[in-house]
């Protein structure tokens, strides 16, 4: 999921040159001097860690949902808030805040992929994250905690975003625990030791409403929230990734990614049982192979994959709902809902970057 760091930086880079565009996706490997670095063995503490960590360079609240209309029509939505510190040290207040925020939202169905982007700076209230009550927002896009007091603030959320041609308003209720990736949330991203803090809430039940040009659609489904923060999560030779979050029909879930570099890809992931117990996957546990590609925005992107995880008896085919789920943000990337067939059936989300 560190993949998204690069998206953040790359997109901000072209939006505002906040990061060096020339560095592209490899920009994430930038020197993190002055910023906080993830420490192995550091325990995450909630609800504090649901909030922002301004001493780290990058962070996000990243939610994807696989939804269905009453007639079975599939939909996918994305809601993402990125935080990027422009300078280490005191974040400052007002307009001089060094915290930059970016939102991405998308709605995908079988006929179209629609996306939108927002950028704001911190310090004036236009975008930010609070923990009590929990809220993450940029402009009118909002992820709001609605859990009763005493429960984990992320266990119930309302979620809303809109663009010029779509909108959604959803309620989410978690039916399982938070899941910590890697070693208790310390997630390694490269052989050379780059890492991030990374946890998820993959057990949301969703109900709500989509706004489409043809009218409103009531939907239900499942959602997955990723929380991750770091300062230098990628190694210098890593330039793109393929990342999967899958809901299987038996209640189990899988997070898997590969970071493509100059040598062999670095693969990792987490097997999540239906009860929420998590098993980190070692680099050699996963087999990933593209099956077919789609021509999108002048590039060839693998939109059908074979994934095998023999240790858990998984051998599946992953197919994009739409091959053109292209986030046409300033540095574009592919992010869209997928269907899963094979030993395990289900739905999920796929994100791919670094395809030129």
């Amino acid at each position: 999921m560190n993949a998204r760091v690069a998206v953040l930086c790359a997109a901000l880079a072209s939006a505002l040159p906040l990061c060096a565009l020339a560095q592209g996706f490899a920009g994430m490997a930038r020197d993190a001097e002055g910023y906080g670095l993830p420490q192995r063995g550091q325990r995450l503490a909630f609800p504090i860690d649901h909030g922002a960590h301004p001493d780290f360079r990058i962070e996000w609240w990243y939610l994807t949902a696989n939804l269905e209309a009453p007639d079975g029509t599939p939909y996918g939505i994305q809601w993402t808030l990125f935080r990027n510190a422009l300078a280490p040290g005191n974040p400052g207040t007002g307009w001089s805040s060094s915290q930059a925020w970016m939102g991405h939202a998308a709605l995908t169905d079988e006929t179209a992929h629609r996306g939108a982007m927002r950028i704001a700076r911190g310090g004036i209230g236009q975008a930010g994250v609070t923990t009590a009550p929990f809220a993450a927002w940029i402009d009118e896009w909002r992820m709001q905690g609605i859990a009763p007091p005493g429960e984990d603030p992320l266990s119930a959320l309302s979620l809303t975003a809109q663009g010029a041609d779509f909108g959604y308003d959803l309620q989410l209720a978690a039916e399982g625990p938070l899941v910590l990736h890697g070693e208790e949330g310390f997630s390694v991203k490269a052989e050379s030791g780059q890492a991030s803090y990374y946890y998820s809430q993959p057990f949301y039940r969703v109900t709500g409403r989509l706004d489409l040009p043809d009218g409103a659609v009531a939907v239900t489904g499942q959602a997955w929230l990723d929380r991750e923060w770091s300062s230098q999560p990628l190694a210098e030779d890593q330039n793109g990734w393929d990342w999967f979050s899958l809901h299987f029909e038996d209640g189990s879930k899988l997070m898997a990614f590969q970071l493509r570099g100059e040598g062999t890809a670095f693969r990792s992931g987490t097997w999540i049982a239906a009860d929420g117990s998590a098993t980190p996957l070692s680099d050699d546990a996963l087999a990933l192979r593209p099956l077919s590609e789609t021509q999108v925005a002048g590039r060839r992107i693998p939109t059908r994959w074979r994934l095998a995880l023999p240790a858990h008896g998984v051998d599946i085919t992953i197919t994009a709902l739409r091959g053109d789920a292209w986030m046409d943000t300033m540095v574009p990337y592919w992010e869209g809902p997928v269907r899963v067939n094979g030993t395990h059936a289900g739905t999920g989300y796929l994100e791919m970057t670094g395809y030129e």
Binding site: L16, W95, A120, E140, D165, G167
Partner: protein
């Protein structure tokens, strides 16, 4: 055959290099003045377009405070964004310190329309510098150069393509520069809005939508100024054409024998005309290119002053550096070609109709007949009628310029007739043979010189007219400044709270504290500033009212009326007693009109209590202080020590006047420069005409010489003749110039600026101008006269031997 013909024709220029130089120089000068003026206009227009396009404001609607308040709260921006309105904040204001002033535009690069941001702001290596204090300010290279070393501004960086005279900074930096923490000027509404958002009134009831800033804003205001310049350019061009016309005409006349020979040798008439036309085109192209180069130099030299003028008069910022734009240099070349065509047209036409074996003798070059004079007189009368009609029925600036054009051309056409009458009168008074010969010979020369004299007349009357206008304006303006600025010191507090403390502190220490509180808004469709005036004798004592009753100031104090400046009064065509709706819905009757020179905006003054009742949020930070002038320095020091008020927050009367006059002086520098150039062109026209005549006049002078008049004496008479004609022309020019001045003051000024000025006469200036005209004529005649004095007697004798 054509080749032979061409080389034969071109040989003429080899034998008469001076004539060639005259022709080229005349056309080049005419083109230079025209294209110079056009270059200035083009540069200014480009600057307006760039200024209007700052951050896409020429395309985007914006949200502004509804009640004409100068600022809106930054929280409103956040509320709107969080309600789904895609808006981007702007803070604009004038930053000034120690006499240096620059427009600051604070923007938020996160939300600003990307396409409208200068590329430099997105430079990734500097964006963090831009955002974080002390920030970074981008400006046009010339703006940055002018501000280098100024204390108090953020570090500066040059960015190409920016409008001059302004700096872009981050909005946070701008807030601290302009002392406007937490405040914004307005919000740009971005083109892409999300699917649904609440009504504006539900989120920010205090805001209203405003249409994109029209480029016309500056363009309209300054249109008259540019028309003025264009008129000047056209005038110079016309004067230049006189030169070209005489040079081409002379060349045609002198080559008549050659034409006859070429025709006799078998050159078809068509070929001859084609070759001659080709020659004219070639000359026009060469002269046109030289003229454009000269025009560039003139424009580059004048542009900084023009820029200063436009800034001073209209608040429009124009780049002080010139770029080579095709619209003016192509236009200049076109004018050169067109001018040469006009100048050569008559000669070519005559050639076309020339009988094959017509006498080859020059026709004493455009010999005039009484009939021609009468025809000119009728044309002059017709144009004079047009001028009168334009004066009576004409409207606006176009009417004014029709009046001006008709007046000047009419006067020019009438000039030869008037001069002929004067010379006839002189001849009647003449005693003695020599004197009679002198008058008669002067009359004989009149047709040959009439074009040059017309040029001189135009230049002289333009000089008198413009000079009178500027001097009248100056006199009125300085008087008015003295009246309008009675207060000894003007202070501006940094915020309302400081203003309150300032007021309490000052009250016991000074004679009177007069608030200068204002709001901005729209009245009768135009932007205005609305001020409040305290009930204090300063105003009735000092403020000159153009219209108003004795009790005007009491009516204001009772909150029962309003007064407006002359500009608004004329623009809205108001009369005393008219009721005028104010922003917010209140209505007040007009009880007076005051002069307000140099202000492009409409202005309204209410009673102070009335103002604060109607607009409780009025900006209350500015005050005028009445006190003993001697106490001012002490007071300034005390204010600095007591309140930490920076020196640029206080300005004394003397300094205000100084700045105002400086703006005024610069305003008319350009006019003065163009005036001098026009005079120079006219002088040159006279010189070429005299030179032309001098070579043809030998047959008329030789008999006089033979009768015993020395060459030296003859030369002296030539000089006197030129000066006499110049002097007589000046006599005609004075009334024409005064009418011109009246048109400028009472018609053009009102249409262009919105104010009318009383006309004052400055006879001393005319005397000076007369001397200048005589000197020009004397100079122009000097060389031909000197040549005559040195002429070999054999040349004069030859006249009798020649067959002619």
């Amino acid at each position: 055959m054509r080749r032979v013909a061409l080389s034969a024709l071109l040989a003429h220029w080899r034998r008469h290099p001076l004539q060639l130089a005259t022709l080229l120089l005349g056309l080049a000068l005419a083109t230079a003045l025209w294209s110079g003026v056009q270059a200035i206009n083009a540069e200014a227009r480009a600057s307006y377009a760039r200024a209007a396009g700052v951050l896409g404001q020429d395309r985007l609607e914006s949200l502004v405070p509804a009640r004409g308040l100068p600022h809106l709260d930054q929280d409103i921006f956040v509320s709107l964004r969080r309600a789904g309105w895609q808006v981007s904040p702007l803070l604009e204001g004038q930053w000034s310190r120690a006499g240096i002033s620059v427009q600051i535009v604070g923007l938020d690069p996160f939300t600003a329309p990307r396409s409208a941001l200068p590329g430099m702001i997105l430079d990734e290596t500097r964006i963090t510098d831009f955002l974080a204090p002390p920030g970074l300010a981008y400006g046009a290279p010339e703006t940055v150069a002018a501000l280098t070393g100024v204390v108090g501004l953020p570090p500066l960086a040059a960015a190409e393509g920016m409008a001059p005279g302004l700096l872009f900074t981050d909005i946070g930096i701008a807030q601290s520069l302009l002392r406007a923490e937490g405040r914004l000027s307005r919000l740009l509404i971005l083109p892409d809005q999300p699917r649904s958002r609440p009504e504006l009134a539900a989120i920010a009831p205090g805001l209203e939508r405003r249409a994109p800033i029209e480029q016309a804003d500056s363009a309209q205001l300054t249109g008259s100024f540019h028309l003025n310049l264009t008129a000047f350019g056209l005038l110079s061009f016309a004067v230049g054409l006189f030169i070209v016309h005489s040079a081409i005409g002379l060349a045609f006349e002198q080559r008549r024998p050659m034409f006859r020979t070429l025709r006799a040798l078998g050159l078809p008439l068509r070929d001859l005309v084609v070759v001659l036309a080709g020659e004219v085109v070639l000359l026009a192209l060469v002269a046109g290119l030289v003229g454009i180069a000269l025009g560039y130099l003139i424009a580059a030299a004048l542009l900084p002053d023009v820029a200063a003028t436009l800034r001073g008069l209209y608040g429009a910022t124009v780049s002080g550096s010139l770029s080579l734009r095709p619209e003016w240099w192509l236009g200049g070349l076109g004018m050169a070609l067109a001018g040469a065509a006009i100048a050569a047209g008559q000669s070519l036409w005559r050639l076309w109709r020339l009988p094959l074996l017509a006498p080859a003798q020059p026709t004493a070059w455009a010999r005039a007949s009484t009939r021609a004079l009468a025809r000119q007189g009728i044309a002059a009368g017709g144009l004079a009628l047009v001028a009168v009609l334009a004066a009576v029925h004409g409207q606006g600036i176009a009417g004014g310029f029709i009046l001006l054009g008709a007046l000047l051309i009419s006067a020019a056409l009438a000039l030869p007739g008037i001069l002929a009458l004067m010379l006839a009168g002189g001849a009647r008074l003449a005693r003695g043979a020599l004197a009679q010969w002198f008058w008669a010979d002067t009359r004989q020369q009149l047709p040959g010189l009439s074009l040059a004299l017309m040029a001189l007349l135009l230049a002289l009357s333009a000089n008198i007219g413009v000079g009178t206008m500027v001097a009248s304006f100056r006199l009125t303006f300085t008087d008015w400044l003295d009246q309008r600025l009675p207060s000894e010191l003007y202070v501006t507090a940094r915020d309302q709270e400081e203003a309150r403390r300032l007021r309490d502190w000052l009250a016991p220490r000074i004679d009177a504290l007069l608030p200068i509180w204002k709001v901005e808004g729209t009245i009768l469709g135009g932007p205005v500033e609305i001020y409040g005036v305290a009930d204090h004798r300063t105003y009735p004592d000092n403020w000159p009212l153009i219209l108003g009753e004795a009790d005007t100031w009491q009516v204001l104090a009772r909150g029962q009326g309003m007064i407006v400046n002359e500009q608004l009064w004329r623009r809205a065509d108001l009369a005393l007693g008219d009721t005028v709706p104010l922003p917010g819905g209140a209505v007040r009757a007009l009880v007076g009109v005051y002069a307000d020179y140099g202000n492009p905006k409409g202005q309204v003054i209410l009673g102070l209590d009335d103002l604060t009742a109607l607009y409780p949020d009025v900006d209350r930070r500015r005050y005028a202080i009445r006190t003993d002038p001697a106490a001012v320095p002490e007071l300034k020091t005390a204010l600095t020590e007591e309140f930490g008020l920076p020196s640029d927050s206080m300005i004394d009367q003397g300094r205000v006047k100084e700045i105002s006059l400086m703006v005024f002086e610069r305003t008319f520098l350009v006019t003065g420069a163009l005036n001098v150039l026009t005079m120079a062109v006219a002088g040159f026209a006279m010189f070429t005409s005299l030179l032309t005549l001098s070579t043809m006049r030998l047959p008329q002078l030789a008999p006089v010489w033979a009768l015993g008049l020395t060459r030296r004496r003859l030369a002296r008479l030539e000089l006197i003749r030129a000066m006499l004609l110049a002097g007589l022309t000046l006599l005609v020019a004075v009334p024409v110039g005064l009418i011109l001045a009246w048109v400028l003051l009472a018609v053009i000024n009102v249409a262009a600026f919105g104010w009318k000025l009383p006309m004052h006469l400055f006879p001393a200036d005319w005397l000076w101008l007369g001397l200048l005209a005589l000197a020009a004529a004397g100079l122009a005649a000097a060389w031909p006269a000197w040549r005559l004095a040195r002429l070999a007697p054999s040349d004069l004798l030859k006249v009798f031997a020649d067959e002619r």
